[in-house]
C-alpha cells in the first residue's frame, strides 16, 4: 500500500509500465491525496480550461488520465487498484469479459463481509458505467480499463477500480459537479451523493489497508 505524493506520478507510472519493453503483470493497491482525474474528452469540453483552473484553485489538482470514463475524484478514503496484464497477439480485446473478471474477483474478495453486492449501472453516480459494484443498489466501486496495443500484435492491459471505503462522498460528488457545471455548455446530468455508499457505513472497523488485504487474499484470474 502506497500513499503517493501526487496522482500524476501514479498515472505516469502506469503509462510507463504499459509501454515498457518488458511485459508487466502486477496488481497495485494505492491511495492518493485529493485530485480530480478527467479524461481526454473532458479536457476538450468547451470551458474545460476555466473548469480546471477553478477546481485546481479549490484544492483539487486536475489531471488527464488515459483509461476510459468520465471525471472521477481520488482522495483519502478511496482505495484504488490497478491491474496490469500482458496478452499475446491471439487474445481478443474483449472489454466486457475483463469487466466481468474484475467484478468476480472483487465479489470473491469482499464475500467475507456478507454484503448485498450487485453489478450494474447506477444512475446519477460518479463516472457511471455498466460494471459498477453496488451495495443495496448504491455504488461503492467504479471500474475502467485501457488497452495499449503493440506493433507485434500483443496487448498491454490496465484495469482500474476505485473503492469508496471511508471517503467524504459529498465532497467527491461536489468537485465533479463543479467541474462539469463550468466545463460544459449544458451540464449533462448532476451526480447525486445519495446513490453512493462507503464500505465503512456497513462495517466501521474497515480501513483502506484492511480492504486491500481482504481483496489481495483472492487470486485474480
Amino acid at each position: 500500500m502506497v500513499l503517493l505524493d501526487t496522482i500524476k506520478n501514479r498515472f505516469e507510472y502506469e503509462q510507463d509500465l504499459l509501454r515498457a519493453d518488458e511485459p508487466v503483470n502486477d496488481i497495485l493497491f494505492w491511495e492518493s491525496h485529493k485530485a480530480l482525474a478527467i479524461s481526454g474528452r473532458d479536457a476538450r469540453l468547451p470551458h474545460a480550461e476555466e473548469a480546471i483552473s477553478v477546481v485546481s484553485n479549490s484544492g483539487w489538482p486536475v489531471l488527464t488520465r488515459k483509461s476510459g470514463g468520465g471525471a472521477f475524484p481520488v482522495a483519502s478514503g478511496v482505495l484504488n487498484i490497478s491491474i496490469l496484464r500482458n496478452y499475446p497477439a491471439d487474445v481478443l480485446l474483449n472489454a466486457d469479459a475483463n469487466y466481468k473478471s474484475l467484478a468476480n474477483w472483487l465479489l470473491r474478495g469482499l464475500k467475507p463481509l456478507n454484503l448485498n453486492i450487485s453489478v450494474g449501472q447506477t444512475n446519477n453516480a460518479l463516472c457511471d458505467g455498466r460494471y459498477n459494484l453496488m451495495i443495496d443498489g448504491k455504488k461503492f466501486i467504479g471500474t475502467s480499463q485501457q488497452w495499449h496495443r503493440r506493433s507485434d500484435g500483443s496487448s498491454r492491459h490496465l484495469m482500474h477500480c476505485a473503492i469508496l471505503v471511508s471517503a467524504d462522498i459529498k465532497e467527491l460528488v461536489g468537485v465533479v459537479n463543479k467541474f462539469y457545471s463550468i466545463a460544459e455548455l449544458n451540464q449533462r446530468s448532476i451526480v447525486l451523493p445519495h446513490v453512493h455508499i462507503d464500505l465503512c457505513e456497513y462495517e466501521p472497523s474497515l480501513t483502506i489497508e484492511s480492504v486491500a488485504h481482504l481483496i489481495a487474499k483472492v487470486r485474480y484470474d
Binding site: 476510459g68 474483449n94 472489454a95 488497452w147
Partner: protein
Amino acid sequence: MVEVIIPNDMWEEDLEGVIVTWIYKTGATVSEGDVLCEVMVEKSQSDLLAPATGILTIIEDAEAIVKRGQVIARIE
C-alpha cells in the same frame, strides 16, 4: 487501399463507441503497427493500430460515434 475498421471483437454487445483522439492527421504517412487513434466504449479505452503502411485518410473525426465493424479511415 486498406480500410481501418473498428474490430468486431472490441466489445460484446451492439454498443456505440467514440473516437477519443487521432494521433495522425489526414495526409500523414503511417507505418503498419503505428497507433492511429484511441477509441472508447464503456469506460474502456483502446488503441487502434495501422493495418498497413501508406497515406492516411480519416473518415470519422475525433468525437465521432462509431460502431463495431465501421470503417473510420483508409490507408493508400
